[in-house]
Amino acid sequence: MTIYAESSFTQKLLLLLSVIFTFPALAIEPLEKDEGYVLVALKVEQGYLPTYVTLSGEGWGNGLKYDLKPTSTNYWLEAVEAGTYEWDRLYLNKDVYLDIEDAELTIKVEPGKINYGGHLLLHTTMNASRNSLLGGARFYFNNKASKAMTYLDNNFPSLVKDYDLIYTGEHKDHFFDYAKQLKGVKL
């Protein structure tokens, strides 16, 4: 296997760093009855990085709110009540937000499982620094299951072993089942 755009020195450095800074498995609260894990993913492909995002849940007070780290892709994994969650708003600052509720981008959380509904990909060409929206924004909600899988493998390896990981989009997807079989072969 070859990785381009990385000199041998860089590769050695990366190897050294990976030894020093091996991914520590992240901790997560255990599931209660009628709860499932939701994996929420947002990638800013271009433009403004939101400060926080919200998803609405079923019933009052069941919404989700996540702060963004300054990286192009943010993941959040949380134990939540089973049900349907819908992407709601992307806050560019305290007052200015993109309302994407009408797009009906949902994640259906089944109890006792890790639920992935897709990556929200965002392009903005706007200036929100003066509380105004200039330019425009485009977004896509796409199935990037292999990236979700890699994130979980790196950060929550034992959770992936213990729980079924499912894709909750409208159309069936075979990847998680297959990836699990592959691990069975390799481990």
Binding site: T125, Y140, S146, K147
Partner: protein, 637 residues
């Protein structure tokens, strides 16, 4: 020290000359698609000058060139089109992935200088209305719906012309397609939904739309031009014998009356309409990988005169002045880059206006031939084999390059640049028009449906077998490389025939067929139906879709694989690439990968293309070397 300098010079020189083949073949053409205005006194052309693509205006009476708009070749914006809107107005369309399309309008003043008159965002020219000086038909989406507007070029109020009430597309099929006549009125409205095609026409003296066709999608019925005074709708249809022909359809009695244009055993590719008046001037079709243009008497006489003045065959007309005194030709000959000529009838002379890629004249370019093979079920397959100019009577390696699609696309022999790049590197290149390719009739097109990894690849392998019979190919050095569907085909072929291929390169290739359904969560119904028609219904044939997906059979891969992808590909999402990479890593397979975060489906930037093709060529060469090493080691044992 001297040795060190010599080594440096050698390495630098080697690297430089090595890269120059790629930069010569993949750099943008320097002269593209010149267009005359109606009077024949001005010419617009897209040129590449240094690191810019420019639209240049030429005053043909004074031979003065003026640059109008230039865009850096490194910019994310590119010039997508340009055209005349009458004699003194023209439009340039630009596009970028973020902001979409912009339309720049220009007016030529009394001094012959072009001045920008408007910049319209998210607007396209639908119909140039070249005989009208003051208006053209503009296309713009409003509230997610397509609309046409008659845009007044003399008005200083631009945006107000796009108010909803000013749209001219007021017909029974609001979101359907439209035809506009030479006076700028919409007179045909048609659409296909849920397999039903409806067509309406509007007579000039009537406010009513009249339905003239309603039928299932099985018979294609594509309106081309409506001539109300004759009650005649010209329609492309494949209703007889399964080939696209141009028919005359009577709109009084709603019946086909006669065939206007047809070609034996081939589809009509294009119907040519005079931009200055409502008359047909010819048609084109593809045969043997070459475009053939058949013109009416006036134009064919002019083509003959041009051919005599230049002694260059295979020329075809791009555009002409209203009085036919000046005509622009392209000598789109096979196996050579295009050249453009201006024929001036008044003095019976042709002048070379420009060449697309003059820097390739220094190369000995390959030559192509037609290969006909019989597939596993007896279906005849037409392919093109391009051989290096010099083989010194030695067998050469073969690169098989199936095209994308797979439906409704076909390869030709009109100087495909990637084919000729690989031929220059010493490979023979085979481009098969497998079932599903366009131009070969409806039956052949539909035969490609639900045949991913099956009969389509049988077709490709039949072409390879036919080429091997010629004895010019080194049979132990065959690789397969494709983009999009071609990338899928490369991977599934590697699984099917490791005995035939030594390596496979998948560029923006589909790796997981069910992901085509589940990839975009907001899949619209129309796209979903089209996918079901092409691939099969996942609810009914899930196991088959999985079975013919390369990632789920990656454990069967035995030959080296190269995968490449752009991160902003919205046609084949990068998830296909990452899934394949994930699986190949888990299975510890021999593979290389190349990812460009900001690239799209078929890399846009010349630098990305050059880098990619250098890597692919190296990968193929290494695969052959490794093969020889294995062979030698086996012989030693």
């Amino acid at each position: 020290m001297k040795r060190l300098i010599l080594l440096f010079v050698f390495l630098f020189g080697l690297g430089n000359s090595y890269a120059s083949v790629e930069s010569d073949f993949f750099r943008n053409p320097e002269f593209v698609m010149p267009k005359l205005n109606g009077n024949g006194d001005f010419l617009l052309v897209k040129k590449r000058i240094d690191n810019y693509n420019e639209i240049v205006l030429t005053n043909l009476n004074k031979y003065i060139e003026t640059p109008v708009l230039k865009v850096s070749t490194q910019s994310s914006t590119y010039i997508s089109d340009f055209e005349w809107l009458g004699n003194n107005n023209f439009a340039i369309s630009t596009y970028d992935d973020i902001n979409g399309g912009n339309l720049y309008l220009y007016k030529i003043n009394e001094n012959g200088k072009a001045k920008r008159s408007a910049l319209l965002s998210n607007t396209y020219v639908f119909d140039a209305q070249i005989t009208q000086e003051d208006r053209f038909i503009a296309f713009r989406y409003k509230h997610g719906k397509p609309n046409l507007f008659s845009f007044d070029l003399n008005s200083e109020r631009h945006e107000s012309q796009f108010r909803s009430k000013k749209r001219i597309t007021k017909g029974p099929l609001r979101n359907g397609r439209w035809l506009v006549n030479h006076s700028g009125s919409v007179n045909v409205n048609y659409d296909t939904e849920d397999g039903q095609t409806e067509v309406y026409v509007k007579y000039p003296d009537s406010k009513q739309w009249r339905q003239v066709w309603e039928n299932s999608d099985e018979i294609e019925f594509k309106p081309v031009m409506f001539i109300p005074e004759k009650h005649e709708l010209l329609v492309l249809s494949q209703k007889d014998e399964g080939y696209l022909k141009l028919y005359s359809y009577n709109t009084q009695v709603n019946e086909f009356t006669n065939i206007v244009y047809q070609v034996n055993g081939r589809d009509i590719a294009n119907v040519l309409i005079n931009p200055f008046k409502p008359e047909l001037i010819g048609y084109s079709y593809i045969q043997g990988g070459v475009a053939h243009h058949i013109y009416n008497q006036t134009l064919s006489e002019l083509v003959d005169k041009h051919t005599k003045t230049t002694d260059i065959p295979n020329g075809y007309v791009i555009n002409f002045s209203q009085d036919y005194k000046k005509v622009i030709y392209i000598n789109s000959s096979i196996d050579k880059p295009s050249k453009y000529y201006l024929y001036n009838q008044s003095i019976n002379e042709s002048m070379l206006l420009g060449e697309e890629r003059p820097w390739l004249n220094k190369y000995e370019l390959g030559t192509s031939e037609v290969i006909t093979s019989k597939s596993s079920d007896g279906v005849e397959i037409e392919s093109y084999l391009t051989l290096p100019a010099r083989t010194d009577n030695k067998q050469v390696p073969l690169l098989v390059m199936p095209h994308g699609g797979p439906l409704g696309v076909s390869d030709t022999r009109h100087f495909p640049i990637d084919v000729h790049y690989f031929v220059q590197q010493g490979y023979a290149v085979l481009t098969p028009n497998y079932r599903g390719s366009s131009g070969f009739g409806e039956k052949f097109l539909n035969a490609g449906k639900k045949q991913w990894g099956r009969l389509i690849e049988d077709d490709i392998e039949s072409a390879v077998a036919k080429v091997l019979d010629k004895g010019v190919i080194e049979s132990s050095k065959i690789c397969i490389f494709g983009i999009s569907y071609g990338g899928y085909s490369a991977l599934i072929s590697a699984i099917r025939r490791p005995d035939l291929y030594r390596c496979a390169i998948s560029y923006a290739g589909v790796t997981d067929i069910p992901l085509l359904f589940s990839g975009g969560v907001q899949t619209d119904n129309e796209r979903h139906q089209a996918l079901k028609d092409i691939l099969g219904d996942p609810d009914e044939s899930w196991d088959t879709l999985v079975e013919f997906s390369p990632i789920y059979r990656a454990n069967e891969l035995k030959i080296p694989i190269f995968i490449a992808q752009g991160g902003r590909d919205r046609i084949v999402e990068d998830e296909h690439y990452f899934r394949m990479k994930y699986v190949l890593e888990k299975l510890d397979k021999d593979f290389e990968h190349f990812y460009m975060e900001n690239e799209i489906h078929g890399f846009k930037l010349v630098g990305s293309q050059i880098e990619l093709y250098i890597k692919i060529n190296e990968f193929i060469q290494n695969s052959f070397v490794n093969q020889e090493t294995i062979k030698a080691n086996t012989a030693d044992e």
